[in-house]
């Protein structure tokens, strides 16, 4: 009875998509999940943080209401973070239920527990002890937050992203330090600042959002400064010591040692793959030097019957990349042509205020790759809809190659720009040149016009600057 065509280990946006798609394609499919369907993304990442970000946005709007002639009479503004947190859990819960029903609808058999490979075609589930067999296995075990060593994570004041989502109290004046200025750290900083906390971001590299185009980094730094969010770049945390109900952090800022005191600490310094305790060695699944599961361009591991997708492959730890890999892996298993990914051209979003979104190469990367780079920038301050919305911070930046005006990268920063990056991603995927984008009629008034204007800037001149 426990024989399948395919077993997927892990029910995140890689695993559950693979299971559904395989079942739709006629494979008898099982999925093993140790916690909740939906994985980190749905339960402890992308989705609940977006719910919190929405609460934060409303709070910011209410605080600014008087600017728009809206008076709040009565006892002032009272923001209850516990309600926001509760809403974020409800959103996750609702979507998890949705995945559960999709599993049922597509006749994917879900096993609750931890999978341990016996070999490349069978595994044992703990604690039930059930043994499953399949022709193919997809590893979609995901990743977990990296815990910087030397910090006592049993202290409830010290959090990784998961504990940060369990946090029910954030009050004005709370001092919170965030280690790591990547998407996760920056998003929590933005949310907690909106709730009045005094946030300090600490980053080892020279800029906030260090993987983004340097102009985007500079713009978010400008915006954070304006909001009063403190940050220290080229700074390391050397020690964290609990002192009564405070935390003392010894930091090294460009060679200068300093102590900062805070109430809470979020460690968001990257992720590590979930490769332990799955029995990879028994199936002959090898890891890369960096400790991720090694896959070929068909997403096949060193054990031919076993595939791997998502964060555990270390390609690009984003939910939509995992989902895309899921479809590709199923194609591979079915012997169909497998789409070859160019991971550079995957969209990347950060849901801070303002938001940042990008696809393709940064200007620096393009120059280092030897392209003859040409840049077109259009500031949102010159975009009608942005002015009307009173959201004029940010810009659209297009990085192109001079010869054919080939689009190498598109970088956006501004309110809600994560919704716009899809257009830029399509343009790059379809190999539009700047000339082509400039010729596409974009709707007016819309923020998306700024992409067209930036393309005009690459080709010659933007109209509105």
């Amino acid at each position: 009875m426990n024989k399948f065509d395919l077993i997927v280990i892990g029910g995140g946006p890689g695993g559950y998509v693979a299971a559904i798609y395989a079942a739709q394609k006629g494979l008898k499919t099982a999925l093993v999940e140790k916690a909740d369907l939906g994985g980190v993304c749905l339960n402890w990442g992308c989705i609940p943080t977006k719910a919190l970000a929405k609460n934060a946005e409303i709070l910011r709007m209410v605080k600014e209401a008087d600017k728009y002639g809206i008076a709040l009479n009565g006892s002032g503004i009272k923001a209850d973070y516990a309600v926001a947190q509760k809403r974020s859990r409800e959103v996750s819960g609702k979507l998890t239920m949705g995945i559960k029903s999709l599993m049922k609808k597509n006749k994917v058999t879900v096993f609750q527990g931890e999978a341990n490979l016996i070999n490349g075609t069978s595994l044992k589930i703990a604690p039930s002890g059930e043994i499953l067999e399949a022709k193919n296995i997809i590893l979609a075990t995901g990743a977990h937050a990296f815990r910087i060593p030397g910090i006592d994570y049993s202290n409830p004041q010290i959090m990784t992203s998961k504990e940060a989502l369990e946090l029910t109290q954030v009050n004005p004046g709370d001092q919170i330090v965030v280690i790591g200025a990547g998407a996760i750290g920056m998003e929590f900083s933005s949310i907690w600042d909106s709730y009045g906390a005094e946030v300090t971001v600490i980053e080892m590299l020279p800029h906030l959002l260090p993987n983004e185009d340097s102009d985007v980094s500079k713009e978010i730094e400008k915006a954070f400064k304006k909001r009063g969010i403190k940050f220290k770049v080229e700074t390391k945390v050397n020690a964290v010591v609990a002192d009564k109900n405070k935390l003392n952090l010894t930091i090294d800022e460009k060679g200068k040692t300093e102590t900062i005191i805070c109430d809470r600490l979020l460690v968001s310094a990257g992720i590590r793959p979930n490769v332990e305790g799955i029995g990879l060695e028994k199936a002959g699944v090898k890891l890369t030097d960096r400790g991720y599961v090694q896959v070929n361009n068909q997403l096949q591991t060193t054990c031919p019957s076993v595939y791997a997708i998502g964060d555990v492959t270390g390609k690009l730890a984003l939910a939509h990349v995992a989902s895309a890999q899921a479809l590709a892996a199923v194609h591979g298993i079915l012997g169909e042509p497998v789409k070859q990914f160019n991971y550079v051209n995957m969209p990347r979003c950060t849901y801070t205020y303002p938001e940042a979104a990008s696809v393709g190469l940064t200007e620096d990367q393009a120059r280092k790759s030897g392209y003859d780079v040409k840049v077109g920038i259009f500031p949102l301050a010159a975009n009608g809809k942005s002015v009307a919305m009173n959201e004029t911070g940010g810009f659209v930046k297009i990085v192109a190659d001079t010869k054919y005006n080939e689009i190498l990268g598109v970088h956006l920063i501004g309110a809600h720009v994560t919704e716009l990056i899809t257009a830029a991603t399509s343009y790059i995927d379809l190999e539009f040149t700047a000339d082509d984008i400039a010729q596409v009629v974009h709707p007016h008034p819309s923020v998306s016009e700024a992409i067209m204007e930036a393309a005009h800037a690459v080709v010659g001149h933007a109209i509105h600057i």
Partner: protein, 409 residues
Amino acid sequence: MAKLMNMPKIGVNMTDGTVTEWYVNEGDEVKFGEMALAAETDKDVQDIPADQSGTVLKIIAQVGDNVECHKPLAIVGTPGENIDSLLAEISGSGATSAAVEASVAPAAAPAQAAEAVEKSPTGRVPVSPLAKKMAKDMGIDLSNVKYGGVRVTKADILAYQETPQPTMTAPVTATVVSSSTGVQNTIPYEGIRRKIGSRMTESVVTKPWAALTVAVDMTKAIEWRKRVNDLADIKVGFNEMVAKACSRALQEFPMMNSQLAADGTEIYEMEDINIGIAVNTDRGLMVPVLKNVAAKGVVELARDFASLVIRTKEQENIPGDLSGATFTISNLGSRGIASFRAVINPPECGILALAATVKTPVVVDDEIVIRPMMNITLSFDHRIVDGDYAAQFVAYIGTLLEDPMKILM
């Protein structure tokens, strides 16, 4: 399955051919690479090789018909096969072979025929805007480009560019070698080997070349190089010195720095002097290019060349490293070669072959003295320049090397 046998493009300038004679009749066997007909092309009446193997089921292009490259000449397959659909496809465009529209599968390249591109029924090749721009710029016929996805992309164009077009090598397959005749070891003819092969064939087939040799007394050049190396912080080689001398000579003789347009209607005198230097690597012959040689001193050239060679050997070339040359130098001196003629690197007009510098008795002022002599041989494209012009050019290089001070003058 029956296939179209198309007019191959032999030679870069060929656009079409008029059938003058068929060597095979319907019912005869043809083999890929064997001469099947004669046609008048841009050059002359030439033998045209079959780009398919099989039995000729139907001859479409009759004697006197003009057929564009990659358009059908005949249908080839197995006897008794139904060819109605192919015929319908051809006549569907309402024309004779001479006017067959692109609605017929146009892939002529034999190597590609087997894995032929699926052509859209409209004959339009789906292509991304970027790939379209690139193809136009590079003069690539999109109907020949193989693509894996739903349309031709940049990657497909780059892959096409990397793969030499087999039709180019077809005309020289005079003797058909088959794998059954005493072959000891079979090596795939592919990648760089094949690319070099097609470039060489293109050169020899399209360029009416001639060669001129000059013996150069290298006494002063050796001294000069020694002096330069005493002063410079990098070792300057003979190649860089000769490149510098060539650039001086190319400034004086700009037609040697010219190229014939692909359509053969114009000669382009090139603005920059970019000199390629042939380098042997593990992968085969590569030609890294020194850019804008006229504007640089030998020390700067030596520095450029050193990093070019490293990048080329490590396969880490950046765009432009291996392209854009307007003249080439090939040096086999270190192998003790007395003199040789190098094959011109198309579309350039000339290549200078440097032989070994050998102590040789020569007559100076009616006395026999021993001098380090080097033979330099210029191969040039006779379509662009005549022998006298080329002779002046190569003699001038000799003069410059015999007294390198003149390079500065």
